[in-house]
């Protein structure tokens, strides 16, 4: 049985962290994003590419490696988080993993700040990082000092990644300096923890706004840009994701920095997992299929992936009740 490298090693960045830049509006002002064309390209991604049989299984295993297994609910408890962490450590039933010849964990678990201590405890020794949302998630409409304090608190509790939300108002009013300053302050508050900037694209209305907000977040030092909280009316979509990864590519072309991308919310199926990986491979290349540059913010998606993998191994269609819940 060939083992993949342990998750801890996978997580090690293969590149330096984003140093950010000064606020450079020239990098996004006047940048056109044509909605119809973005939708057309997004629709073609999955009609132009298809993975079958062993390739499909491998791509699904890779998706698991990139999942931020998430619970962000008002009724989260220590027990619920421990169960989630158990699933993160062992995302597929051992016999399926064995038949596939892989050892795999999810990329991270993602919880509310007060759940961080439970997650850290449950994942001790696994190398699986704990990500915490912060900054008044999901709306972010809390005084900035409190939001920064929340970040510091979560980091102190052991969160290695912080998923912050931006103030949508700054985007809708074009107040780029305010957005830049806010994210930059958050990045400082994160210290060594990685910052994922949630743009809440469902609130931003236009793809031009999505591109600009992506660029400002990266200029301010975001390690990842992330689509959604999962709480907006519309969460991760392929056209929005396409716009963000192109922003990320453009930022990289100018600065040399490598930024990660995390779609989140609304992705529920193994098919979605493949679709977003095709997006990454087509638009950015092989490197963006690694967990240091790509995460899928999802919860129920894992269950569907596990069923598909069992089908791959046994040739029979699987039932959810034969797999461990997350």
């Amino acid at each position: 049985m060939t083992s993949l490298p342990a998750t801890a090693t996978q997580m090690a960045l293969h590149h330096a962290r984003n140093a950010g830049t000064a606020l450079e509006p020239a990098m996004f002002e006047g940048h056109a994003v044509n909605r119809s064309a973005a939708e057309k390209r997004a629709a073609q991604l999955t009609t132009r590419r298809s993975v079958k049989k062993a390739h499909q299984a491998a791509w699904l295993v890779n998706a698991i490696r990139c999942i931020d297994l998430t619970t962000l609910a008002g009724d989260d408890t220590a027990g619920r988080v421990r169960r989630l962490c158990a699933k993160a450590r062992q995302p597929i039933r051992p016999d399926i993993a064995e038949a596939l010849g892989v050892t795999v964990t999810t990329g991270a678990v993602c919880v509310y700040p007060t759940m961080v201590p439970h997650a850290v405890e449950a994942l001790e020794g696994t190398g699986i990082p704990v990500a915490s949302v912060a900054t008044g998630f999901p709306a972010g409409l809390m005084p900035l000092p409190l939001r920064l304090e929340e970040i510091r608190w979560a980091v102190q509790q052991g969160a290695q990644e912080i998923d912050i939300v931006i103030t949508r108002e700054h985007v809708l009013t074009g107040n780029w300096p305010a957005l830049y300053d806010e994210v930059k302050a958050m990045r400082e508050a994160c210290g060594d923890a990685h910052l994922k900037a949630i743009l809440a694209t469902g609130d931003l209305a236009t793809l031009g706004n999505v591109y600009a907000a992506s660029m400002v977040a990266m200029q301010a030092g975001a390690d990842f840009i992330k689509t959604s909280t999962g709480k907006e009316g519309v969460n991760a979509t392929l056209p929005v994701s396409l716009t963000m990864v192109r922003a990320l590519r453009d930022y990289g072309a100018i600065t040399g920095e490598r930024i990660g991308f995390k779609p989140a919310g609304g992705m529920k199926t193994a098919k979605d997992a493949i679709a977003w990986q095709i997006l990454m491979r087509e638009e950015l290349g092989r490197d963006w299929l690694e967990p240091d540059l790509f995460r899928l913010g999802a919860s129920s998606m894992l269950g569907d992936i596990e069923r598909q993998l069992e089908h791959h191994v046994t040739g029979r269609y699987a039932a959810a009740h034969r797999h461990a819940p997350s």
Binding site: A32, N34, S36, A37, R41, A54, A58, N62, G101
Partner: protein, 774 residues
């Protein structure tokens, strides 16, 4: 099972082969060879040729080379079936077309796989583009059949249609041809391309399966000789899609036969990227423009014109995108570009590219497998005059040329003998519509490319052909309105020697030619005698000068309909003021009812003035979130050869609709009675008709008409004269494939002398697609 971990290292896609067993079974069943589909059944195979899969070189089937006898048998079967078919109600024909649409959908994957095997195009395209459009076309035309009686009252089908289609979209082109023809009540003899006849033969089987009456659809396979036999056959309408070269031959072959012709020919379409465009979107547009179907698309955006300010960045993005394309097995779902249809085409692409390189083009190319494949190619530093910028390559080769200003872009876009399609990329709606209006193309896509729909007319300007397919306009091509029969008897050639005229009284009046708003002596220095005096004997050089003057009258086509209407009303006013003078002229010319002719001419001015701001286009529901506009545009310079009889009314009836729509005309008035027309130039002058909008060259009509027909800068020609003159004009028009309309003799004062048909013939449809979304 270490395979999974190996794949995890590379994260390659692997192969995703489409199952072809159903198609292989079908081919095995026809191993003995295919005959033709004539009169509702397959004939026994005759002399056959091999049909191969371009991707593998494997022989797929043997298909019969159609002989002249085969073509005649098919035409006879179609002829026999036609009365019964047109005798059905529109609703009954609609049921048949609906059944065809349903069967295409039910056999969708079969057709897609067969098409990809036969043509070499990737399964993604045949599955997601070709076959769904085929079904859509039959549905749409089932609708037209249903609506025939209400939407086209009084119109009748032509009868038997001969249709010749190319190999790049074999089944889709069949649908484009067959669906409107059948909807209108015609019967069909169709010849598919010899490289790709298989989906047509499969379609014949489903036509039989769904009970299409025998002989309504006939399919004869074969090469160009079979096509030539079909062109020569006794058909009532011909439609051809293919190369401009063959289109030209067909135009000459059919000249004077009085059968309507639709030609959908080649292109070298511009793809214009402005600096403010979404460059990633434009890059993806190039993928869909020139790497769609391996660039073997008549409307492919082959000439990428990019603003110099973003050329570097655009080229970088495009090259990176190109290198991610996967070229190979058409039946692999991961293939972006399949095989080139035939080694003959591959050789042609290689030859043209080699020539381009010799002329200084620099290539950027992707990978491609061995065999009948050609890599995705970008050619940089392509000068407008070079081979790669001018010749239609019909392969996956995009040229990149930079421009500085919108004016520059339009001028480069229009620097081609073709005029099929154009793609314009900018986020500025002002700029997009401005350029869309200026490009010479039958189809314009704004921030998009290669969009098709059965409801949107498709077809070219210039040497890309004439006629439209799709929508109401496409139906119009398969219908005819009742027309008067018979041709004028050609007048004798005018004599240039003195002594033939009648003695004149009063002060001598000199009728000159009228060119560029000025009276001009004929270049020849000769005059000829006509009733009432002498007329200038115009020659080729006068035509040349008149066309130049017309070309300069550009402002007229851009004037508003209201402006043109005002001028035409004013023309009526001034004509009315001088009515007695014109009556006297016409009476002297032998007219029995001169007052009536002048009065009708004045009314005609009013009628076309009224139409000038009302004859309009349409917005069609095509695909979601698009505005698809049909805009009638003037041709530019039109030649008009007028009938001998009713010299004032004939002239006015032909010239007015042309200028009402914004054309500038070079008119040859009645050869025998030209003075009513030359009198008119004083009226034109006083009526503020701008210089060059109407040019009048008197002389021997058929000789001057021929010069107009041959003139490459005349975009359309109307000829009202003799049968032989019509034949000569049509044959001579093949040079630049100008649109021609030959009108038989008629009473110009009656309903045949005026109407929308004249306006439709004075314009060409430009279809503009604009997707939208915040």
């Amino acid at each position: 099972m270490t395979e999974i971990t190996d794949i995890l290292k590379t994260m390659e896609y692997g192969m995703a082969p489409e199952d072809s067993s159903a198609v292989r079974d079908w081919l095995a069943r026809h191993e003995a060879g295919f005959g033709h589909f004539i009169g509702g059944s397959m004939t026994a195979p005759g002399e056959t040729f091999e049909v191969t899969a371009p991707a593998s070189g494997d022989v797929l089937a043997r298909v019969t080379q159609g002989t002249q006898a085969d073509v005649e048998a098919a035409v006879a079967a179609a002829r026999k079936a036609q009365p019964g078919w047109v005798g059905l109600s529109g609703h009954e024909r609609a049921r048949h077309l609906y059944a065809l649409a349903r069967h295409v959908q039910q056999h969708a994957r079969f057709f897609a796989v067969l098409e990809s095997l036969d043509n070499g195009k990737p399964i993604r395209e045949s599955r997601d583009v070709d076959v769904p459009l085929v079904a859509r076309h039959f549905y749409h035309h089932a609708g037209w059949a249903e609506l025939m009686e209400t939407e086209f009252p009084g119109a009748a089908p032509h009868g038997v249609c001969g249709q010749i289609i190319p190999w790049n979209f074999p089944l889709l082109m069949l649908a484009w041809k067959v669906a409107p023809a059948l909807a209108a009540g015609n019967t069909v003899v169709l010849k598919p391309a010899e490289y790709t006849p298989l989906t047509a033969l499969a379609f014949a089987e489903i036509a039989r399966e769904c009970g299409l009456p025998k002989g309504v659809l006939n399919i004869v396979t074969g090469d160009g000789e079979t096509g030539a036999a079909l062109v020569a056959a006794d058909v009532d309408k011909l439609a051809f899609t293919g190369s401009t070269e063959v289109g030209r031959i067909i135009r000459r072959e059919t000249a004077g036969r009085g059968i309507p012709l639709t030609l959908e020919l080649g292109g070298k379409s511009p793809f214009v990227v402005f600096a403010d465009a979404d460059l990633d979107a434009a890059v993806e547009g190039v993928v869909d423009a020139i790497w769609f179907n391996g660039g073997q698309v008549c409307c492919a955006g082959a000439r990428v014109l990019v603003a110099e300010a973003v050329e570097e960045r655009f080229t970088r993005l495009l090259s990176a995108r190109m290198k991610a394309l996967r070229i190979g097995d058409p039946l692999d779902k991961n293939t972006d570009m399949g095989a080139i249809v035939h080694p003959v085409q591959l050789d042609r692409i290689r030859r043209l590219v080699a020539q381009g390189v010799a002329e200084g083009a620099e290539l950027i190319q992707g990978d491609c497998p061995e065999g009948c494949f050609y890599p995705a190619t970008i050619a940089r530093h392509v000068e407008p005059a070079s081979t790669l910028a001018t010749e239609e390559i019909f392969g996956p080769v995009a040229t990149i040329t930079s421009f500085r200003t919108p004016e520059d872009a339009v001028s480069l876009a229009n620097a081609t003998r073709y005029g099929l399609a154009a793609s314009i990329w900018t986020e500025n709606v002002n700029l997009a519509l401005d350029v869309a209006a200026q490009v010479k193309a039958g189809v314009v896509w704004v921030n998009a490319t290669n969009l098709f729909d059965a409801g949107a007319p498709f077809g070219g300007m210039r040497e890309s052909g004439f006629g439209r397919e799709g929508g109401r306009e496409g139906m119009g091509a398969y219908l005819k309105a009742p027309q008067p029969e018979g041709w004028e008897t050609a007048p004798e050639a005018p004599g240039a020697a003195p002594g033939l005229g009648q003695p004149q009284q009063g002060i001598d009046r000199t009728a000159k030619l009228y060119i560029g708003g000025k009276q001009a002596r004929p270049d020849s220095g000769y005059s000829y005698a006509v009733p009432g005096g002498l007329a200038g004997l115009g020659n080729r050089k006068d035509i040349r000068n008149a066309v130049e003057a017309a070309r300069k009258a550009k402002g007229w086509g851009k004037a508003t309909g209201h402006n043109r209407a005002q001028v035409l009303y004013y023309l009526a006013e001034n004509l009315s003021a001088r009515a007695t003078e014109f009556e006297a002229r016409l009476t002297a010319s032998g007219s029995s009812d001169a007052a009536q002719e002048v009065e009708t001419a004045i009314r005609r001015c009013f009628w076309y003035a009224a139409q000038a701001d009302k004859f309009d286009g349409a917005v069609r529901p095509t695909v979601g979130r698009h505005v698809t506009m049909m805009m009638p545009e003037p041709f530019g310079v039109m030649g008009i050869a007028c009938p001998v009889e009713q010299p004032l009314l004939g002239f006015v009836s032909l010239v007015l609709p042309a200028i009402a729509m914004g054309n500038a005309v070079v008119a040859v008035p009645s050869q025998t009675h030209p003075l009513a027309a030359t009198d008119l130039y004083q009226v034109l002058e006083t009526s503020d008709v701008p210089a060059g909008v109407v040019n009048i060259v008197t002389g021997e009509r058929d000789v001057l008409a021929r010069t107009l027909a041959e003139h490459d800068d005349v975009a359309a020609l109307w000829y009202a004269g003799s049968a032989e003159g019509a034949r000569v004009a049509e044959a001579a028009s093949a040079g630049n494939l100008k649109s021609t309309w030959c009108l038989g003799s008629r009473d110009w004062s009656g309903p045949d002398g005026q109407g929308r048909a004249f306006l439709e013939r004075a314009t060409q449809i430009k279809t503009i697609w604009t997707p939208y979304g915040a």
